[in-house]
Symmetry: C2
Subunit: 346 residues, 2 copies
């Protein structure tokens, strides 16, 4: 049991050379240092014979880097409910890490005891374990992030940019332009009166969508019949009735969860989509097979955002990119069956 792992020194003894020479040979630097090809061969043979495997830890210690990328969220990463906001982003981060040959560290320890996660829990910054980190989540802990940045720690944000812009690089989606694009498609089909149903929260991605909506309505000369906020379980049939009575022929819905609630209420009213009312979702649909309709909606490139965040972090760490760089990825319009021309009678 527990046969000691062979070290470079063991190879050196077997080949009758020094540890230095072994290191040089194994790293292909024989030419630079004029190592005899025969010696090199002896070393390689000895290494193979002993089943040598470099010790990552020693290598990392010397090199100053771990090849560890931290992933930090202020909430648990794998929530118990379905429809994890992070899920797709995590898939992207994993793919990015695979490509870059790095491992991921999920900072779970800091969630301990308190429901809240503090980076500087007990006065230590665990994030430092990793070479740099990707920060997810909407919750605001700006003071901690400022301190992190002050300490020279490198990180990249995904999905938000409020304070991020002043603190470090970020990757997010171009929500405003995407929604403006939706508006012009809607306009092109003949719609002139539109309603908007958003979430009650004021997270940046939502605010930007609203910005795009208003800008689009203004530019295209469309009338905003209603702009209303609802939480989960709060969509009311009477509101939809009212909006339609008000002349709206199309409804933009910010969140996918609310979208399904809208479908239920519309069903209750006996209204036809898109015959009586067109409905467009402004977010990705994680599981289209579970959706009630073939929704017309936007695709937010969450997976690409995750993958790009990894690349960006490594670029910053390697000095290939200044730490103020940011990137915005485009959303795609997915045509479905819930956007049509407005009913001619209206």
């Amino acid at each position: 049991m527990a046969a000691a792992r062979p070290r470079q020194l063991d190879i050196a003894k077997l080949a009758g050379v020094s540890q230095t020479t072994v290191s040089l040979a194994l790293n292909g630097k024989t030419a630079d240092y004029g190592i005899n090809p025969e010696t090199e061969q002896k070393i390689m043979d000895a290494a193979r014979e002993l089943g040598y495997v470099p010790n990552v830890t020693a290598r990392a210690l010397r090199g100053g880097r771990n090849r560890l990328i931290g992933v930090h969220a202020f909430e648990p990463l794998f929530p118990t409910g379905r429809e994890s906001y992070y899920e797709e982003i995590l898939v992207g981060i994993e793919q990015g890490a695979v490509r870059a040959g790095h491992d991921l560290v999920l900072f779970t320890s800091i969630h301990q005891h308190t429901g809240q996660a503090n980076i500087f829990h007990e006065g230590r910054n665990r994030l430092r374990i990793a070479d740099g980190a990707i920060i997810l989540g909407f919750e605001q802990h700006d003071d901690e992030l400022v301190r992190l940045a002050d300490e020279g720690y490198r990180f990249v944000f995904v999905g938000r940019r409020e304070r991020a812009a002043t603190l470090g690089p970020y990757v997010s989606a171009e929500y405003a332009a995407a929604v403006r694009d939706v508006m012009s498609r809607v306009h092109a089909l003949g719609h002139r009166e539109v309603a908007y149903l958003g979430l009650r929260d004021r997270a940046e991605p939502r605010l930007e969508r609203r910005e795009g909506f208003r800008a689009g309505a203004a530019e295209l000369g469309m009338a905003v019949v209603a702009e209303t906020w609802a939480g989960a379980g709060e969509v009311e049939a009477s509101w939809i009735r009212q909006v339609m009575d008000g002349g709206a022929t199309v409804l933009l819905v910010e969140s996918t969860g609310v979208l399904e609630e809208v479908a239920e209420r519309v069903d209750e009213l006996g209204v036809d989509i898109p015959g009586d009312l067109s409905v467009v979702g402004l977010d990705s649909i994680t599981d289209p097979s579970a959706a009630s309709h073939d929704w017309t909606h936007l695709l937010v490139p969450r997976r690409e955002m995750g993958a790009r965040a990894v690349e960006l972090l490594l670029d910053v760490l390697d000095g290939r990119q200044e730490p103020t760089h940011h990137e915005r990825l485009n959303c795609t319009f997915r045509p479905g069956g819930t956007l049509g021309a407005p009913a001619p009678g209206v």
Copy 2:
């Protein structure tokens, strides 16, 4: 900007002591070595002031602990499809890690280039960065695991036990007993003729279920009308018809995916569940709201398995548990609406 990471030596200088003393103070060994409480306080203050965090790499090199738990799978952890086998287990692992105050390292780097993941890929064993690892997945890489174990590396398996038993501790579910329990419930309701629909693969958890099924049938004197294997998309209505004609009044289905296919075929046949045929699932249902029926089925405690694996790993690392220990968690029977008494006419 980019202030170099503080080392113990920096703390030592600030506090006016040696690096040794700093190390002792930070590791709570002041009592053993008679360090003055005032000195200790000075050191702690200096450490906080500098924002000191131990260097994982140096510690790992020395053989120390890092409060890092590795998670290794031979396949990507976050698969692109829905219905991730790992998902629930990962949730459990995360919860376990949170409770234990440890962080998780997801070993993604080894998936690089080759679709296959080798621990000793490119001659480096990254696992050593973590204190120990939890190993998931069905794929067989026994030679690598044997080597890891020989090197004294500690790990715990989740969900399998074939070779695991000889290599280290494992946590898995008690499938056979659970299925036997299902059989006795079915028997108690009056069923005497039963059919079994399994997956085509021969993974351990499936083999155990079949074992439990056969043992139950034998003990209870029930007739096995059919025992058939199907892959995704291979369930045929004719098979169900045939099985029912053969007298089967209840069908046990190994996998949740196949369960839904069975529902579709049964619908096509105009057969009533459970009036004409009772159906029992032998696996968890991740998203009951997306299920076509209120299935009667087994709950595999995947989340507990993950959480328990973390505890077990730490027990082994701390020497509280011998490294041959294993644990089997019970599955729960979830009564639903798809198991009833057999039709009296039969």
